[in-house]
């Protein structure tokens, strides 16, 4: 895959430089160039939401730093965890005196580094709680859902946690509602073509010209089914079945729905997919309260898409509906 880049090793830092040049009203950097926070951080008296992870997934993770979303983000190399020290810097620069929530995807590199950061914060008497997003149905059976990968479900988690913190909830309250959201969020994806990490220079996986892989992870982790490329309607059927049967989502459930593009798949195709998923859900009596369709969690130029459903209750509905604003996500 051809790329518009300079030195592959400078890719992440140059990207960050661009983002900071473009959005100085919304974002600023800390003493650690990889720890980026809200321009108005720290917000005194508000629970700070910290996130982070490898680069290459924009808007995830940095794109969800903003009003009604996260307060800070530590930025790793492409598909690699940020360091413990970066997360610690982001923590110091954003905490508003009432504790921090570390909210990120369940990947061992991130977990290990952010656990180290939390231990460092603890030594400064900053209280840190962690909620891991683990929504990828393909990566472990239901009984072990906490072992699953975190994928596009992150978006709902940010929305809920960020809105709750913005409302003035305590850390315990933010943690509780975010955990509830995460426990009711399921995703399933399909990959059609791989992406290439700039510094690696080779595709993350290989796949036949006429093949697709259901359940592939956003770094190219193997999925649950590889087979001939099917029609959008058949793919919709597979993704919807996997997600609906998992939680399971039931008749009269009210859900927020995300059809997410992985990078190279055009929005037109996402709407073709959305159409059929929506029809199937309606057929099952599952009510789609709010829909997001677009690129919300990508894997560089990977081709493919994912479906995420979040079961709503009254509080989650309010938090999902709340306004939010970042350079990458705006809802009024």
């Amino acid at each position: 895959m051809k790329k518009i880049i300079n030195e592959p090793m400078a890719f992440v830092d140059e990207m960050l430089e661009g983002i900071l040049l473009a959005h100085p009203d919304q974002l600023k950097v800390t003493s650690d160039p990889r720890a980026i926070i809200r321009a108005d951080a720290p917000v005194e008296g508000k629970v700070a939401i910290l996130t982070g992870g490898g680069s290459g997934h924009l808007p995830v993770f940095l794109g969800y730093v903003g009003q009604g979303l996260a307060d800070g983000c530590s930025v790793g190399n492409v598909f690699s965890s940020p360091s413990a020290e970066t997360m610690y810097e982001a923590t110091l620069a954003t905490h508003g005196g009432v504790g921090c929530l570390y909210l990120y995807g369940n990947y061992s590199g991130d977990t290990m580094n952010f656990d180290m950061a939390a231990e460092m914060a603890d030594m400064e008497d900053i209280r840190v709680e962690t909620v891991l997003v683990s929504d990828d149905v393909a990566s472990a059976p239901r009984e072990q859902w906490k072992r699953r990968r975190g994928v596009a479900g992150l978006v709902f988690a940010y929305k809920v946690a960020g809105a709750s913190a913005a409302e003035g909830a305590t850390l315990d309250e933010v943690v509780a509602v975010t955990r509830r959201a995460v426990a009711q969020t399921c995703s399933m994806g399909v990959a059609l073509a791989p992406c290439t990490v700039p510094a690696a220079g080779v595709p993350t996986f290989t796949i036949g010209d006429d093949e697709m892989e259901i359940g592939m992870g956003i770094h190219g982790e193997a999925g649950v089914h590889r087979g001939k490329l099917e029609s959008a309607d058949q793919i919709a059927e597979r993704l919807t079945r996997a997600v609906v049967d998992d939680l399971p989502f039931k008749r009269d459930d009210q859900v927020a729905m995300l059809i997410n593009g992985l990078g190279a798949t055009p929005p037109e195709e996402l709407y073709v997919l959305y159409r059929r998923v929506r029809q199937i859900l309606e057929g099952e009596g599952i009510f789609v309260y709010r829909s997001y369709i677009g690129e919300y969690a990508t894997s560089l130029e990977m081709a493919g898409a994912s479906l995420t459903l979040l079961r709503l209750d009254e509080e989650l509905t309010r938090l999902i509906d709340a306004p939010a604003k970042s350079p990458f996500f705006e809802q009024s």
């Binding site: 020290e85 990968r149 990490v197």
Partner: protein, 214 residues
Amino acid sequence: MKETLTRDDLVAALRKMGDDLTEQAETLRELDAAIGDGDLGITITIGFGALEEALDELADQDMSTILMRGGMAFNRKAASTFGALFATMTMRAARELRGVESIGTAELAQMATAAFEGVKERGKAELGDKTMLDALGPTAEALQQAADEGVLLVVALERAEEAALKGVQATVEMKSKTGRSSWFSERTQGVQDPGATAVYMMVRSLAGYVATAE
């Protein structure tokens, strides 16, 4: 051949380790690509690069500081599962080096055991889960045995290299139970664990240093 390792030896051995592992980065990338996400090659290249750079500044510190700061430099630039665990290993091993002037078989055995315990704590995995523990555990055990027998460092490392190799080979048949690869546990059978392979390469590199350095 070295009977013990001084501070200069530690620095030289770490540099050699960096060079050796970087040379093998492509192999590690391929293994990680097969059952993980393929970033281990970059992690190794960047991480050891950062470590070697840090050594330029650290060369006149004591051994414990060199090892700890070197590991932190690795993870700062190449944070990842492997990076965090590498930093954990060096930090725990460094603790054992406080006040120590030279490393013989006994000291090395203590360092390896501490590193092993550290990785277990940080990663919450067990032996047999198909992780670096499966190379690190046998290494620590072999070194401890050698220390108990009072053998020379060069012999101890010969045995450790052999144990690590066996350990790493045993990972081929294991099914991954933790980390990225556990998401498709079944399919990981038949592939050697990349992190364990890296640990084996580190042990081999150190054994090579001790065997050949003047």
